[in-house]
């Protein structure tokens, strides 16, 4: 003990860590503010912000998954060579020869899947608790950016093993890019702009007209350098904004309870003619006039505890749980690796990674430029808009279903539909992308569905125009308060996204029950 104290008091130790053991309030503050790695955290956090049942640590789990993916990824880079004739053999080396290579590779794979899942559910939690509302709108947008980057990281990593699964997933992805309107060779309107397969977006992305060496090195650089750097930047911004936007959101029930107690305290105090204690005793920045940059706009009753040890202990525990779970899973379950990529044989069925199976399922009903480009873009723009078309900015810190009924239902239907399509694509699709139930054998031959027909142009156009005009006008007449609270711009933005979402199901019904191929056909595009 004496030796330890002497060590802590030595000049060398003091030059590294300038404060004493964190058992006093001062040292517990200093360990946060003077430590490079911890100073992203506040010195004190609200007790309610640590509630497990409120945020489930999903954001933290996503971040830890990113850390694990980065570390295992660097380890894999020591062995992996991005060359078409060596990549697959490197994978086999990593799995069968390199000590712990199998586990490291599995951890990289499962943590990537876990990160996608954690990010999606983190978004669901933030939505349901209304935590994206002012002043946190921009951080919601940054979060959507991180969701997209997470998906792109997974997608670019998918090609690197150079097996059948990866080759055909990227082949399909590259061809989806080719269907982009205006800048893809087979997308609508690209011909007028002079794009063909030797200069369009897919050519730049895959580095040629076929998936080959150029594609592999491009995806390798994107996966290992470009996208991780963007992700790091966005994660930093995301964390920074949590602090600047007034900390983690707090359950509104806790706030109300505290307000009640506080008003009781004030009554007692005024009866005894003593000044009540200030509710928040700790000031983040001494130079600020107010408590923190944003928090002070509304006087919230605080109930704060020191980050060290309360939050730090929870973070360490969370990391250990995530790491252990991933390690155990990686020890038991191997990440998939099929036979080496073969451009002349497409596996049947060729399924995309699970998080894109919902989109692949839509490809059955829509042309690639819609299913692969327009609909995903609308999902992203719709998610971004959520925080800017919001009508009840005060409904935070909980579900507030009576105020947010419409947005909660729409979001949940979309979220469930996304996963329902994924489950359908994963378990109900067999050879030839035919409908096979999970208990059915894929050996049974199913002949492709019969001939489809297009709606006549009169029927098609009147259906589309009637649907959109009716969908825009009717809700305005039926629910006047819904319109009045939002105004023309927000209302039409919301309804446009709702109607496009509804159109997916309209088209699915038309296809399944009426064998309709296209609702409208034009020389440039078909819907």
């Amino acid at each position: 003990m004496k030796l330890l104290n002497k060590l802590i008091d030595s000049q060398v130790f003091r030059s590294i860590i300038r404060h004493g053991w964190p058992n006093t309030a001062l040292n517990r503050s200093l360990i946060i503010t003077s430590n490079f790695f911890l100073h992203v955290l506040p010195v004190k956090v609200d007790k309610s912000a640590l509630r497990l049942g409120y945020h489930f640590y999903l954001g933290v789990i996503s971040f830890f998954m990113f850390i694990i993916v980065s570390l295992t990824g660097v380890l894999l880079m020591f062995y992996y060579i991005p060359a078409t004739d060596r990549a697959y053999e490197n994978m086999k080396d990593i799995i069968f020869i390199v000590p712990w290579g199998r586990v490291v590779r599995n951890m990289h794979r499962w943590a990537a899947h876990g990160m996608v899942l954690a990010v999606m559910f983190h978004m669901l939690r933030v939505f349901l608790t209304g935590s994206y509302k002012p002043p946190r709108e921009f951080n919601w947008v940054v979060g959507i950016g991180l969701l997209v980057i997470t998906l792109l990281l997974s997608f670019t990593g998918y090609l690197l093993p150079w097996d059948q699964l990866s080759f055909w997933a990227i082949s399909v992805g590259g061809n989806m890019a080719k269907a982009t309107p205006f800048i893809g060779a087979s997308g609508p309107f690209s011909e007028m702009l002079g794009f063909d397969i030797t200069n369009d977006i897919s050519f730049v992305l895959t580095g040629g007209t076929v998936i080959g060496q150029n594609t592999l090195i491009r995806f390798y650089v994107l996966h290992c350098v470009v996208l991780p750097l963007i992700a790091c930047g966005l994660i930093g911004l995301h964390f920074f904004r949590i602090r600047k936007d007034g900390g983690l959101s707090i359950p509104h029930k806790d706030l109300e309870e505290r307000r009640k107690n506080e008003s009781g305290k004030i009554k007692e105090a005024s009866a005894a003619a003593i000044q009540p204690e200030p509710v928040k005793t700790y000031h983040l920045m001494a130079l600020m006039n107010d408590k923190t940059p944003v928090v002070a706009t509304e006087d919230k009753p605080y109930d704060e505890i020191f980050t060290w040890p309360h939050l730090v202990v929870r973070l360490v525990l969370c990391f250990l749980v995530v790491f252990t779970a991933l390690f155990v899973i990686s020890f038991i379950a191997d990440g998939p690796l099929e036979t080496v990529a073969n451009p002349s044989v497409t596996p049947n069925p060729a399924k995309a990674a699970w998080y894109f199976l919902g989109l692949q399922e839509l490809l059955v009903y829509f042309d690639p430029w819609l299913a692969g480009v327009v609909l995903p873009s609308l999902i992203i723009s719709g998610l971004v808009l959520i925080c800017y078309v919001d009508a009840h900015q005060d409904a935070q810190g909980g579900l507030h279903f009576s105020k947010r009924a419409f947005s909660v239902i729409f979001f949940l239907v979309g979220f469930i539909a996304w996963f329902a399509l994924i489950i359908f694509g994963e378990f109900f699709r067999g050879p030839g992308w035919q409908l096979y139930f999970p208990w059915e054998s894929w050996d049974i031959h199913k002949s492709p569905s019969g001939a489809l027909h297009n709606l006549s142009s009169l029927a098609g156009w009147s259906l589309i125009i009637g649907y959109f005009v009716g969908g825009m006008v009717l809700p305005k007449l039926l629910w006047k308060s819904f319109y009045n609270r939002r105004g023309a711009v927000k209302y039409s933005l919301i309804m446009f996204h709702v109607l496009m979402f509804g159109m997916i199901f309209l088209k699915i019904i038309l296809r399944l029950y009426f064998d309709v191929r296209y609702i409208i056909t034009t020389p440039w595009f078909n819907i």
Binding site: V172, S186, I197, V210, S344, G432, W433, P448
Partner: protein, 174 residues
């Protein structure tokens, strides 16, 4: 009152336009950097063989492995027309390789369930257009030369046009 151009105006104008050109030029030229100028892709034309190698009424799948083309000779039982043509084995939907189903006389794509008839017409599934025709011609020594590789297709939209599919370049009349 006469409006004077101050020194500040000049500096603001040149600085903002200078920065715009600097950033814009950077973006455009990094974009140019990313477009490959040389492609190390498979050879563009191959000698498929003598016409006798492709009997009437058959779909030849021997070239699929290396060159991703089918060479098809019209005739019973697959069609009632005449001539040899070649289809590029790239699904026009999202680029998977369809398989020739000899029992049903159809090309079937496993990725999203597109189905094409023997002439490459998209008859079912999500494929938006027929399979592309590869250019085909007879060399002076009587062998069949096929332009393989997607580069020969040019603009996909044009390749779908019916007259183009039946012209001299895409249908070898014997």
């Amino acid at each position: 009152m006469k409006k004077l151009i101050t020194r500040r105006d000049v500096l603001t104008w040149t600085t903002s336009w200078g920065l715009t050109v600097f950033v814009g030029g950077g973006v455009v030229n990094i974009g140019r950097f990313m477009v490959p100028k040389v492609l190390y892709e498979p050879s563009e034309t191959i000698i498929a063989g003598f016409p006798e190698d492709f009997p009437e009424g058959t779909v030849d799948t021997r070239l699929i492995k290396d060159y991703k083309v089918w060479v098809i000779h019209h005739g019973e039982p697959i069609t009632k027309k005449k001539g040899i043509y070649s289809l590029i084995a790239v699904c026009t939907h999202l680029g998977c390789t369809p398989r020739w189903n000899q029992e049903e006389l159809l090309f079937q794509c496993g990725c999203h369930g597109s189905v094409f008839d023997v002439e490459g017409n998209n008859i079912s599934g999500p494929a938006p257009s027929p399979l592309w025709r590869a250019p085909i011609r007879m060399t002076p020594d009587g062998r069949i030369e096929v332009g393989v590789g997607i580069l020969n297709v040019g603009r996909p939209q044009q390749a779908q046009l019916m007259p183009k599919r039946e012209d001299k370049q895409h249908l070898l009349k014997l």
